[in-house]
Amino acid sequence: MKSLEELKAIREKMQGQVGMRHEDETTTRVVVGMATCGIASGARPVLNAFVEGVAAKGINDKVVVTQTGCIGLCQYEPIVEVMEPGKEKVTYIKMTPEKAAEVIDKHLVRGQVVAEYTFK
């Protein structure tokens, strides 16, 4: 290690990894329904798209992507819920990795709910 910059580079690389391991009330939670119904209709690629997309945008210190069981609306799977602290829960339905990328870009980064994919 010849410089502080090298140390900083390692820290930034690792922060997204280690940063997951604490609980914080200020983080936004993205919850993907991963019961049998969800998995059967393709929730796993959606989950992975969220995990990778959030990391790629560098917002993984503010957003955690996690999974849950059956939400009870099996015909609308894959379902993704976005819970921001102090705001109403937003439920996205029939998600795909492509739609996920749009939600990350518009909703998680810029704060605009993508109304056309939500449950009405």
Partner: protein, 604 residues
């Protein structure tokens, strides 16, 4: 990029209850389900709640599984990791509420804690330096080397009020200042780390070394910069194999990344650390004995002065700090002295780690701000005393400390208050005792330990503690007189005043403090020839109530001394003759009483 991290405790406690097999099974099941690119298994250090091991936490949800068995892994992987359904029967029940699973930080065990020394324990993989760097590791060293002068480092530590966590509580900054200033001949100085944790029931240093070894290396390098040393030694007990292994890995990795060795951060500062394994003598935790042992000689103390800061290892200026003390240093450098000094009491700043053991529900490792009361630690964090028993005393400071009785439960714990009530901080072992513990027996236990561990160099310790033990033995056998109690007390003070090192000077503390708070128990042994807690075997007798005995003979079958035989009395309504214990043959093991289902056997 992993979407989920499964943290499994790899500390000594959980390893001994099988966490290694759990990790292997987890990796196997995760691969079988095709999740090996999505879920990462991390072997960490101690989470603190050792009583519930093996422990496993799944992030980002923060689900806390306790007492996990290898057979549960398949279910956890297929339900939780694949489908996102928490396996609630395995979740730590404190976190389960009617509204679902609550955060671990809100449980009684964690809520009152403040983790500074233990901040990375149970969070990072101790065998991966990059995870340590990811939590801000080695930034304090970078800051010290590039932005601060050695004097500023020492001033920061001084202003923080950090005191030695090994027991005596000497101000750390003062120690560093002395080592820097007293000898300035440009020669070698040394930075040593005391990891020879020997108190029965203390395991906080082990947990730091196992869970976060790099924090110790970083702090030692900072100390080296502050006092002008380029060589450090960690003296660690060979009985801590996991700690030794992780320290070796950590030192090698730090070398690889250039965080130890020559020209660190390109500042021209050189620092290296060597490991020295202790062979297990308790006296080697005493600073002069420890340094003598590093030099390759028999670990015996020597008189002070000269103090190590002037003439220590290899007759050169040396500082010696405890593991937990070092674990606080990087955070103080990064966050500033004021941040640290805000926590704690007037003269004891920061936090203290305690190893909770004995009659307590949550056996484990806790870190609380100085000034927390014993009541909070025992009743809230520790979860109280098992089986509805009553608290009698807590022993702090191991064989050098004393007992705290129920009347002092609300005293804020810090260095000075503990000394005022006749105990001491020690390294932080905290053993809880209930009404079934005999205080004379406890004093005898700790004294037996110091008798065994006395190095024999000075007479007051070598012979004095042995005579003291013999007198205590008389008390527990019911052969002592009230004059003996006075003689015990007198000998205690003699040993304290005349011993060469800390071992002898503190050895009588367990006796003195029990004499002070539990004199009535000593008197019961001497005058009434009774042990109120029913521990001292020579003062006990077991009896069978012939009216209750049904003559089943279960007790006789258990008796290792064949002391139980039939009588010719049969109680009304019973079919077989009652049994009786022959007091001449009875060894008072209590096996018969534990076996009897009819409550016919009692202890007097």
């Amino acid at each position: 990029m992993y979407r989920s991290h499964v943290l499994v405790c790899g500390g000594t406690g959980c390893t001994s209850s099988g966490s290694q097999a759990i990790i292997e099974k987890l990796n196997f099941e995760i691969a079988k389900n095709g999740l090996d690119k999505e879920v990462q298994v991390v072997k960490t250090g101690c989470f603190g709640l050792c009583a519930l091991g093996p422990i496993m936490i799944v992030y980002p949800e923060g689900t806390f599984y306790s007492m996990v068995k290898e057979a549960d892994i398949e279910e956890i992987v297929s339900e939780h990791l694949v489908k996102g359904r928490v396996v609630s029967r395995l979740v730590y029940d404190e976190t389960v509420t009617t509204e679902g699973v609550k955060s671990l930080q809100d449980t009684d065990f964690y809520r009152n804690q403040k983790r500074i020394a233990l901040r990375n324990c149970g969070v990072i993989n101790p065998e991966n330096i990059e995870e340590y760097i990811g939590t801000g590791g080695y930034e304090a060293l970078g800051k010290a080397l590039t932005e601060m002068t050695p004097e500023q480092v020492i001033d920061t530590i001084l202003a923080s009020g950090l005191r030695g966590r090994g027991g005596a509580g000497f101000p750390t900054g003062r120690k560093w200042q002395m080592a820097r200033n007293f000898v300035q001949d440009g020669g070698q100085k040394y930075v040593c780390c005391n990891a020879d944790e020997g108190d029965p029931g203390a395991f906080m240093d082990r947990s730091v070394l196992e869970g976060d070894p790099h924090v110790v290396l970083e702090a030692m390098a900072i100390a080296g910069y502050a006092i002008g040393a380029s060589q450090g030694y960690i003296y660690v007990r060979a009985e801590y194999p996991i700690a030794v292994k992780r320290l070796e890995i950590a030192i090698n990795q730090a070398h690889e990344y250039g965080l130890l060795g020559k020209d660190i951060f390109g500042t021209g500062f050189d620092f290296d650390i060597g490991l020295r394994l202790g062979a297990g003598a308790f006296v080697c935790g005493e600073e002069t004995a420890l340094m003598t042992s590093i030099e390759g000689n028999r670990g015996e103390p020597r008189p002070r002065p000269p103090f190590p800061a002037v003439k220590g290892l290899f007759e050169r200026p040396t500082i010696l700090n405890n593991v937990e003390t070092y674990a606080n240093v990087p955070r103080i450098i990064l966050n500033g002295a004021e941040w640290f000094a805000e926590m704690g009491t007037e003269k004891s700043k920061g936090t203290k780690v305690f190893a909770l053991g004995g009659k307590i529900n949550n056996t484990g490792l806790v870190e609380v701000p100085m000034g927390t009361t014993l009541r909070t630690i025992i009743e809230e964090i520790g979860g109280g005393i098992p089986n509805g028993k009553k608290f009698k005393a807590a022993q702090t400071g191991g064989p050098s400390g004393g007992c705290i009785s129920a009347e002092n439960l609300d005293v804020p714990i810090d260095y000075d208050n503990l000394i005022a009530i006749g105990s001491m901080m020690g390294s932080g072992g905290l053993i809880v005792m209930d009404e079934d513990n005999c205080m004379v027996d406890i004093a005898k236990f700790f004294l037996q330990f110091t008798v065994d561990e006395s190095c024999g160099k000075c007479t007051p310790c070598r012979i004095g503690t042995r005579r003291l033990l013999e007198m205590l033995d008389k008390v527990t056998k019911g052969q002592a007189t009230l004059e003996d109690l006075d003689r015990i007390e007198k000998l205690c003070y003699y040993i304290k005043d005349n011993s060469l090192c800390g071992l002898g000077q503190t050895a009588p503390n367990p006796v003195l403090s029990t004499l002070r708070y539990f004199k009535d128990e000593y008197i019961a042994h001497v005058v009434d020839k009774k042990c109120p807690a029913g521990v001292c075997k020579d003062l006990l007798s077991y009896e069978i109530d012939k009216e209750k005995c049904i003559g089943c003979g279960m007790c006789a079958r258990q008796c290792p001394a064949s002391a139980i035989s039939k009588t010719d009395y049969t109680a009304p309504g019973k079919k077989l003759p009652a049994l009786a214990i022959d007091p001449e043959k009875c060894v008072k093991c209590g096996a018969c009483m534990a076996q009897c289902k009819f409550g016919a056997i009692s202890k007097k």
